[in-house]
């Protein structure tokens, strides 16, 4: 194989390799007639990614047929290939073209970067022959498909902590919920639940067969989003029922990317859901906002009581028009409330045998946020004005809660 990548495509190639490094430790390289395939799989075989660069991606693409006619395949440590493309940010400015040569006889893969000022960087990497790495999937047959601009998904996952392992995605006819997945074994009192709801009109394409909820690895999703964001190409998500893999795709005329991720199977998915919420599934937020005359820059603060035990009660404020979901009764965790109690010395306005649960709501720039003190449940509901791009740092809210 002998091919040349020029200009901005060098950076695309580098980003693809970087993206693949989030999946597995080895890079599988297979020059094919229809293009160059770069693939990776994780050690548990639960995540697979493939970048297929068509011959048009290259300014020159030559694949030599090997005697015996079988396809040439090799693999190498992905870190070694990443070392060729250091400092991604300066790649565009310094590298004019990248020449990739595969010498089967000497078992050498050579990357030659032609940089400005005449500087030539040559990397000779050794590789091993490998078996074929191909995931079997048929995205067209999936019951559900969403397509969104990468920015939307990047902004969504931004709300989850970097350490979060798995994310749950639930769909109904008109909405999608992104929720962090908490293990059954996790201590409920320390669990923080974050849930985001997106409406179907945020998506370029929204086709949902039946109400479904799937859970898969967030780190791997982020790996794809990093790439998608840099290219600006929309991300398509194909999925079926839990247990079936989810396929994330990014395509354009010269490139096809597919990430195939395993999802948690039905039992564990449902079980987790019930344990986490310890309540009936909350009804979707009412579409009151559709008719309200909303000043999207209005910041309203409202506290209200909920049926259920609580140690502290925030003072009543004049309620605004922008009420949110009323939460059914929830369990209380004394530790968190005690902390809130210290800083807030307000008198109870109502005598109940069991003090009510605390809920605080905000409307900020088109985002509706609800905090409930059950290990702090945050619901971010975008208002249809699509000012979703306003992201509100959670840390600010933690501070305000303690005031």
């Amino acid at each position: 194989m002998d091919c040349v990548v020029t200009g901005g495509n060098v950076k695309v190639l580098a980003k693809a390799i970087h993206s693949l490094s989030r999946i597995g430790d080895e890079l599988y390289l297979e020059p094919q007639e229809d293009g160059l395939a770069l693939r990776s799989v994780n050690s548990s075989r639960s995540a697979y990614a493939c970048f297929l660069f068509s011959p048009l991606f290259f300014s020159r693409y030559c694949v030599y047929t090997i005697p015996l006619g079988h396809a040439f395949r090799c693999k190498m440590a992905i870190k070694c290939v990443q070392a060729v493309f250091r400092s991604l940010s300066s790649l565009e400015k310094t590298v004019e073209k990248c020449h990739i040569e595969l010498d089967g006889e000497k078992s050498r893969l050579t990357f030659t970067l032609h940089c400005k000022h005449g500087l030539l960087k040559t990397h000779n990497l050794s590789f091993q022959d490998s078996e074929s790495l191909q995931a079997v999937f048929d995205k067209e047959s999936c019951a559900n498909m969403l397509r969104a601009q990468p920015r939307l998904l990047v902004d969504t996952v931004l709300h989850f902590p970097p350490s979060l392992e798995e994310v749950s995605v639930s769909v109904s006819g008109e909405r999608v919920w992104f929720r962090n997945h908490v293990d059954d074994e996790a201590e409920q009192s320390k669990a923080m639940l974050t849930e985001l709801c997106l409406s179907s009109d945020e998506f370029d394409h929204f086709a949902v067969g039946a109400q479904t909820s799937i859970t898969f690895c967030l780190k791997e999703l982020r790996g794809l989003l990093v790439f998608a964001e840099s290219t600006g190409l929309p991300v398509s998500v194909y999925f079926d029922e839990p247990g079936s893999p989810v396929v994330l795709s990014v395509t354009d005329s010269v490139l096809e990317v597919n990430f195939v991720l395993a999802t948690l199977s039905d039992d564990s998915n449902l079980c987790n859901h019930n344990n986490n919420t310890k309540r009936a599934r909350s009804p979707p937020p009412p579409d009151d906002f559709m008719t309200d005359d909303i000043d999207s820059y209005l910041i309203a603060m409202e506290t209200s009581e909920l049926a259920g035990p609580s140690d502290a009660l925030a003072p009543r404020c004049p309620s605004s028009n922008h009420t949110l979901t009323t939460q059914p009764s929830v369990d209380i965790h004394r530790r968190r409330l005690e902390r809130g109690e210290e800083e807030e010395e307000e008198e109870d306005t109502e005598d109940t045998e069991r003090p009510p649960n605390k809920k605080v709501s905000f409307v900020v720039k088109g985002l509706a946020v609800t905090y409930t003190t059950v290990g702090i449940n945050v619901t971010l509901t975008p208002l249809p004005l699509s000012l979703y791009s306003c992201s509100v740092p959670l840390s600010l809210f933690r501070v305000s809660l303690s005031l």
Binding site: A83, S90, L119, L120, K121, T122
Partner: protein
């Protein structure tokens, strides 16, 4: 960075008095050669020379020259001024640092200096010499494969002209600078030479490289390497840092 030296006998009894308007320049230069705890300070009528050595194979020298008499250099507002005084053998090296009216006095105990190695590197013995703009070399050095034990330098009147090579875990890498590159200010190579130097010895030189605007790379007939860095300070003063390194004894494998 104006540095003036005076020899005085009597009065203060100082053998050496060196003054600096802005000590930052001196401290930056010294950081470029601080890979060992001890340095040899050599005061000459031309200026100050600070030497650091490692395992008898590497020597780094920083030169801070004397300014010309009559030339006045404006001192920056927040600059720290330095006066370095030395009374002679057995006395501590005294530093007076002044900033914003506050004076700090430091007395550093001196020790018996070891004789610095004479690498016997003289210009007449130089076989190959190139002068490069530091910018391009900085990029190469920052990307060098650190799993390689050696850095191989090839200099030749023909292709590849000037090449830096590493041999690491993932394979080998070569950085080639053509003789007609606009980064190449001088190219004088008489014969093809390939030498290897321990990566661990050359690593500290990247600090000097980071400060410099130009680098001269010379090898002599024995394969000894001389790296000279031209450092230009904010106030336009020039200092030099040089590194001498002897080649790795290991037999070259092809």
């Amino acid at each position: 960075m104006p540095l003036s030296t005076q020899s005085q006998t009597g009065g203060d009894n100082y053998v050496l008095v060196a003054s600096l308007d802005n000590v930052r320049n001196l401290s930056n230069i010294l950081k470029a050669i601080t890979f060992k705890d001890h340095a040899i300070f050599n005061a000459t009528p031309n200026g100050l020379k600070v030497t650091v050595e490692d395992s008898k194979c590497l020597q780094a020298n920083a030169f801070i020259q004397v300014n010309l008499p009559g030339v006045y250099h404006q001192r920056g507002l927040m600059a720290t001024a330095l006066r370095m005084c030395y009374n002679g053998y057995g006395y501590p090296l005294t530093l007076f640092l002044e900033e914003g009216g506050v004076v700090t006095v430091c007395k550093i105990n001196t020790q018996e200096p070891e004789e610095p190695i004479d690498f016997e590197f003289c210009s007449t013995n130089v076989t190959n010499k190139v002068i490069l703009q530091s910018e391009s070399l900085k990029e190469a050095f920052s990307e060098l494969d650190m799993t390689s034990e050696v850095l191989q330098i090839t200099m030749s009147p023909s292709q590849p002209y000037f090449r830096l090579s590493t041999f690491g875990n993932s394979g080998n890498a070569h950085y080639d600078y053509p003789k007609d590159s606009d980064m190449m200010e001088l190219f004088q190579c008489t014969k093809t030479q390939t030498n290897r130097y321990k990566m661990s010895l050359l690593k500290p030189s990247t600090k000097a490289l980071a400060l410099s605007c130009k680098v001269s790379v010379r090898t002599d007939s024995r394969g000894f390497l001389s790296l000279q860095y031209l450092v230009r300070n904010d106030d336009g003063q020039i200092c030099f840092v040089e590194y001498y390194c002897c080649p790795d004894e290991e037999v070259e494998e092809e």
